[in-house]
């Protein structure tokens, strides 16, 4: 088992309880979607995995290493194996595309090498290969804030892959994108995971997208896992358990049609 989360709880200093005794296992190479209403704890859960948020109790193990008990240096080393992709892309806007991509290697190079942008040639080569894979090699020297949303997210994906990760933590990758670009980005993430044998936890609002692209869906409500099954098993009843009462008949399994309908507009 690549990732093993046991009894994970998080209570913020303000008293808000974000997670309550979450148990979750993700095998190597599995792409998993995490759905749930806003405030259910999805972001907190993936941030507890790489400890951008410190969990209150419980353990997280990645590839047999217990992340939750690591010291600063060992934690940095462990973080290299977990690539993260963000909702608003979180590129450093005043740096170039290439600098942003190379920042994925920060955990592997020393401070002064990174200060003078002296990365190993192999890293720069890999950066160009990956940028070319997502169709952005010609943008390498553009400043990140000149790119469109979809392009920025592809740079964000490349930055995460540069870490040579085993696991991708993906936080609402499509929330700021139009429907067509959203599908392209989801397809890209799933394809790249397949090519490289990566596991991924993808936080996502859009239930139809989750069903279309992930094999396994986990539903989070108020900090507890209330659904965990194959994507096809998700129906109106389960959605009511996760999100509350609503007419779900139009939501499920309609992603393809919706993509076609909105694709012409976008």
């Amino acid at each position: 088992m690549l990732l093993r989360i046991q009894g994970l709880s998080k209570r913020y200093p303000t008293g808000d309880v974000a997670l309550t005794a979450v148990d979750l296992e993700v095998p190597a190479g599995q792409v998993m979607a995490l759905i749930g209403p806003s405030g259910a704890g999805k972001s907190t859960l993936i941030r507890c995995v790489n400890r951008l948020v410190e969990p209150t109790s419980g353990t997280v193990q990645l590839d047999g290493v217990e992340i939750t008990s690591l010291g600063t240096t060992a934690l940095r080393r462990a973080r290299r194996r977990m690539g993260m992709i963000f909702q608003e892309y979180a590129l450093v806007e005043r740096l170039t595309v290439m600098e942003n991509v190379l920042s994925g290697r920060l955990g592997y190079v020393g401070f002064w090498s990174s200060w003078f942008r002296r990365f190993p040639n192999a890293d720069i080569e890999e950066a160009f290969r990956l940028l070319d894979r997502v169709g952005l090699a010609h943008m390498a020297d553009k400043r990140a804030d000149t790119l469109s949303g979809g392009q920025r997210q592809r740079v964000g994906i490349v930055r995460a892959l540069m870490q040579d990760p085993q696991l991708l933590l993906v936080d609402e990758p499509t929330a700021s994108l139009d429907p067509k670009t959203s599908r392209q980005i989801m397809r890209l993430i799933v394809e790249l995971c397949g090519e490289r044998g990566l596991a991924a936890i993808i936080n996502i609002h859009d239930v139809a997208l989750a069903q279309q692209f992930a094999k396994r869906i986990v539903g989070l409500r108020a900090g507890r896992i209330v659904f965990d099954d194959q994507a096809e098993a998700l129906g109106g009843g389960q959605l009511t358990v996760i999100y509350g009462e609503e007419d779900w008949s139009q939501t499920i399994g309609r992603a393809e049609e919706e993509a076609e309908a909105t694709g012409t507009l976008a």
Partner: protein, 277 residues
């Protein structure tokens, strides 16, 4: 079509539009008029208490005319060496003090940013900033002159000290306003704390850092002209001496030189700030 029109088909939008007024600054009408009345009464009473001795004012006007007349024509030549020496001294003080203050202000700015530093460090750095900003440069200069003796060293230390408070406060505010997500992304890659600063924070605050440095250089030159009055060196010394000797024409020349340099500094720092945005 909104909910209100659906619920009430006989809703009269015209009457509502006539009755609508822009919201006043002070909601309570009673308080509003009380404040207006209070301000008016205060102004009347205050003006009534001012005593103006018009004959003194007329005499003073005449004396000011004579004093200013002594400024013309400005004399750049007879004390030219003194002016040049004072000017170079001021420029040296300015550049050295700005560079020194800038270097010292960066660690203080990092410590004074609540999103980077733990609380004890934060409080200590904020205290340094508060001390540096509390006292006017002249007061600090008097202390440094007492410590280090007359001359440009005291002036340089004064300007460097004032620069720390100014730069650290404004840079710390900029650091607290950075996009947290960009810094978070750098942390998520496994970067160290210094890499977080170099890759996540510095690119976001760099334009302001450069712009403020240029602005502070400009301020430091202006201040260096004043510091001479308490014996802390620079062109202010030259100015002070010429006043003491009633050489108003030389004083006028010094003032013109100061004005020209300050304008040049202001234009160039403005240009730099525009360029780095």
């Amino acid at each position: 079509m909104n909910a209100a029109t659906l619920d009430a088909p006989d809703f009269d939008a015209k009457a509502a539009a006539r009755a609508w007024r822009p919201p006043p600054l002070i909601a309570s009408a009673w308080l509003r008029y009380a404040i207006y009345l209070g301000a008016l009464v205060y102004a009347v009473i205050a003006i009534g208490t001012i005593e103006v001795n018009w004959t003194r004012a007329a005499e003073g006007l005449e004396r000011a005319g004579r004093f200013l007349g002594g400024f013309f024509p400005p004399d750049f030549t007879s004390k030219g060496d003194d002016i040049l020496e004072g000017l170079l001294e001021s420029l040296t003080m300015t550049v050295v003090a700005t560079a020194l203050g800038l270097i010292l202000s960066i660690p203080v700015a990092l410590g004074a940013s609540r999103n980077l530093a733990p609380l004890p460090v934060y409080l200590a750095c904020r205290a340094i900033i508060a001390v540096s900003r509390t006292f006017q440069e002249i007061i600090i200069a008097i202390v440094f002159v007492a410590m280090l003796g007359f001359g440009p060293l005291a002036g340089t230390m004064t300007l460097a000290f004032a620069t720390i408070g100014f730069m650290a406060k404004l840079i710390a505010e900029d650091i607290e306003d950075i996009e947290a997500a960009q810094a978070e992304a750098v942390r998520a890659t496994g970067g160290s704390w210094f890499q977080l600063l170099a890759w996540g924070v510095l690119p976001q605050v760099k334009p302001r850092l450069i712009g403020l440095s240029a602005y502070r250089l400009d301020i430091n030159f202006r201040e260096s002209a004043v510091l001479g009055l308490v014996g802390a060196g620079g062109i202010g010394d030259t100015l002070n001496t010429s006043f003491d000797r009633y050489e108003f024409d030389t004083a006028a020349a010094v003032l013109i030189v100061i004005i020209v340099i300050v304008l040049a500094c202001e234009y160039s720092s403005g240009w730099i700030r525009r360029k780095v945005q």
